[in-house]
């Protein structure tokens, strides 16, 4: 049981970090970022290139992927989303753009890094063995702790910094924020960059454990959507809750349902459908967010 909980916590921390980026972008711009999974893969490949090809320390790789993705996110917002949102009749049109960007990033990743599965050497060796009740490699613990630290850092940033306050105001009411003198364009761009950066950071963290390959983008996006639905779209606490809940469900499901074959996700989906029928806006979302 302890083992299942520990696995769930470790998975949940990763998932929550992915969901945070997606929900941030959604709350600021009302854009469902289909390319989020691809951004995550891109971040993983940047870390791989820096660590495994150039032989630099892991922390440099992590920072590099954060920086690259932040710049990428900022550019995408400024030159692609902003003009389309301004000119389009229906705001759903951004979905085509987001999907186009997802395909584009897939193509770029394929050309730059190839289709092979890539990984970096373990950053810490050894396995924690607590009385045979919890067995977990040290590198997983380190990554889990790093992820939780990043989540706490992100919450503090959103809560206490000037930019964070501006973005929260923007998420609540765009018009009112603009009237109060918030530079809407600037903070939309910063928000998008931040969301992309979080995706890149998770990619950088996970490349040390699961490795990374081109095909991981789409499924990651789907999982991120799941977490947002559980927690409620556009709410930070919801994204974190959704991430940890999905991590726990996956960990528990894989253990308990193993006897019945590979049906963990089927059960999760079915539960979600029932849950959404009762509470359409998720755990913490605003109705019709």
């Amino acid at each position: 049981m302890e083992q299942i909980l520990a696995n769930g916590l470790y998975l949940g921390a990763q998932y929550a970090l992915i969901a945070l980026g997606l929900t941030l972008i959604f709350s600021l711009m009302n854009v469902l970022n289909f390319a989020h999974g691809q951004m995550y893969v891109f971040g993983g490949f940047v870390t791989y290139t820096v660590v495994a090809q150039f032989g630099l320390p892991f922390i440099v790789g992590l920072l590099a992927s954060a920086a690259v993705l932040a710049v990428l996110g900022g550019l995408i917002e400024k030159f692609l989303f902003r003009p389309v949102i301004r000119r389009s009749k229906r705001e759903e049109s951004t979905m085509l753009l987001a999907a186009g960007i997802a395909f584009f990033l897939d193509a770029v990743i394929l050309l730059l890094f190839g289709e092979k599965q890539r990984g970096v050497p373990k950053i810490v060796n050894g396995v924690l063995n607590w009385d045979m009740r919890i067995i977990m490699p040290y590198d997983r613990i380190l990554i889990g702790v790093l992820a939780i630290t990043l989540i706490v850092g992100f919450i503090l940033f959103m809560q206490y910094s000037r930019a964070g306050r501006a973005m929260r105001a923007l998420a609540q009411d765009r018009m009112a924020a603009q009237l109060m003198g918030v530079d809407v364009d600037r903070y939309s761009m910063i928000g998008f960059a931040l969301g992309a950066m979080l995706a890149g950071l998770v990619g950088g963290l996970l490349v040390t454990i699961t490795g990374i390959n081109l095909g991981m983008g789409g499924p990651t996006s789907v999982k991120a959507f799941l977490m947002i639905m559980i927690g409620g779209a556009g709410v930070i606490s919801g994204a974190i809750a959704g991430g940890f809940i999905l991590g726990m469900m996956e960990s528990v499901g894989l253990t308990l349902l193993a006897a019945y074959g590979d049906i963990t996700y089927l059960v999760i989906f079915a539960t979600l459908m029932v849950f959404l029928a009762i509470r359409p806006q998720g755990l913490m979302g605003k109705p019709w967010g």
């Binding site: 389309v84 999907a99 186009g100």
Partner: protein
């Protein structure tokens, strides 16, 4: 919307009038689909185009369904699920029960419509991105269900399904046995094209009927529509089930052509593509999804000469199109009409 209300002839009410120009347009379109395309292929000898164009026709049938859900203001990214269900219903009926393919085609559609009513009742209460995300997940559910159920034969799928047999009414042969044909590719193309034309005719009729007007009221403001007595819950489910019916038929036809079906025959990417076809063609136009499907699918096929840069060029073009024409390709027509 403001530009449209200024002109007295809105695209909506114009649709009901059969102007001579419109008749010529429809005639030219039918001529192109049924005569010019086969003639062109026979001349150039590019027989591979038949497969591509058959796919375009069938995908646009599915996209027509997605478009209808857009019409009631819902973003549907779950059409792949219904295509898969329709495909499996047809395949299982043909293989296990020995039903003729021609009977399974409408049955697949009806089965999908029935499934969509059960699923739609709870999830159609959701709106915006919530509905979009749930439908996206639905495709994944369909795939996993197909993997888990015994009747679908898991990951191995159902293979070597016989080609469609003879269709006859009172001894009169309407469609000959596909296995006896010298050129089944052409036959499949014509069949898919007929299906496409019928689908879009039905869609056009729906949009210009009372039902279409009610759907538009949902798209604009659901609360307001409900407050003046529109049965929104029933209407949503009705539109969604029609949409799924189209998806099921498209899936069943695909299975007949490829003679096999696997859980991965329709995946999340296909569902997303159905939605993209609608966006690209333009959400405000009945024939938008058909044009969108043609441009994206045929364009993708032609780009295969670019080898490893195929995806790069394709997605780049898609982004560029979105930047230039954020309201779909058919919004070009709109501009001309307002000028007139």
């Amino acid at each position: 919307m403001t530009a449209r209300t200024v002109s007295t002839e809105t695209p909506q009410n114009k649709g009901t009038i059969m102007t001579p120009l419109r008749l010529i347009g429809v005639g030219a379109y039918l001529l192109g689909v049924f005569v010019l395309v086969p003639a062109f292929i026979a001349l150039t000898g590019r027989w591979d185009f038949y497969y591509t164009l058959t796919s375009v026709a069938l995908l646009s049938v599915g996209a027509a369904g997605v478009w209808l859900t857009f019409y009631i203001g819902r973003i549907n990214i779950g059409q792949g699920a219904y295509a898969l269900v329709g495909g499996y219903v047809s395949a299982i009926l043909v293989m296990k029960a020995g039903v003729s393919f021609w009977a399974t085609l409408p049955l697949a559609g009806i089965a999908c419509a029935a499934v969509s009513v059960v699923i739609g009742l709870p999830i159609l209460r959701l709106r915006g991105v919530y509905f979009a995300m749930v439908t996206l997940v639905l495709t994944e559910v369909a795939r996993l269900t197909a993997l888990a159920l015994p009747v679908t034969n898991g990951a191995k799928g159902i293979t070597s399904i016989p080609l469609p047999g003879e269709l006859s009414i009172l001894g009169l042969t309407i469609v000959p046995d596909f296995a006896s044909l010298a050129n089944p590719k052409l036959a499949f193309y014509l069949l898919a094209a007929v299906l496409m034309v019928l689908t879009y005719f039905v869609l056009w009729r729906i949009v210009n009927s009372r039902l279409g007007h009610l759907c538009r009221s949902l798209q604009q403001n659901e609360e307001l529509a409900a407050s003046i007595g529109v049965n929104t819950a029933m209407l949503r489910v009705l539109a969604y089930s029609i949409s799924s019916f189209f998806g099921g038929i498209a899936g069943a036809m695909f299975v007949a052509i490829s003679q096999s079906i696997y859980p991965s025959s329709f995946v999340v990417t296909d569902s997303v593509n159905f939605m993209l076809y609608c966006f690209l063609g333009g959400l405000g136009y009945v024939f938008g999804p058909m044009l969108g499907t043609f441009l994206l699918y045929f364009g993708w096929d032609l780009l295969s000469v670019a080898k490893q840069y195929q995806l790069l060029i394709y997605s780049g073009a898609m982004i560029a199109l979105m930047l230039v024409l954020p309201n779909g390709v058919l919004s070009l027509l709109d501009r001309k009409e307002t000028r007139k």
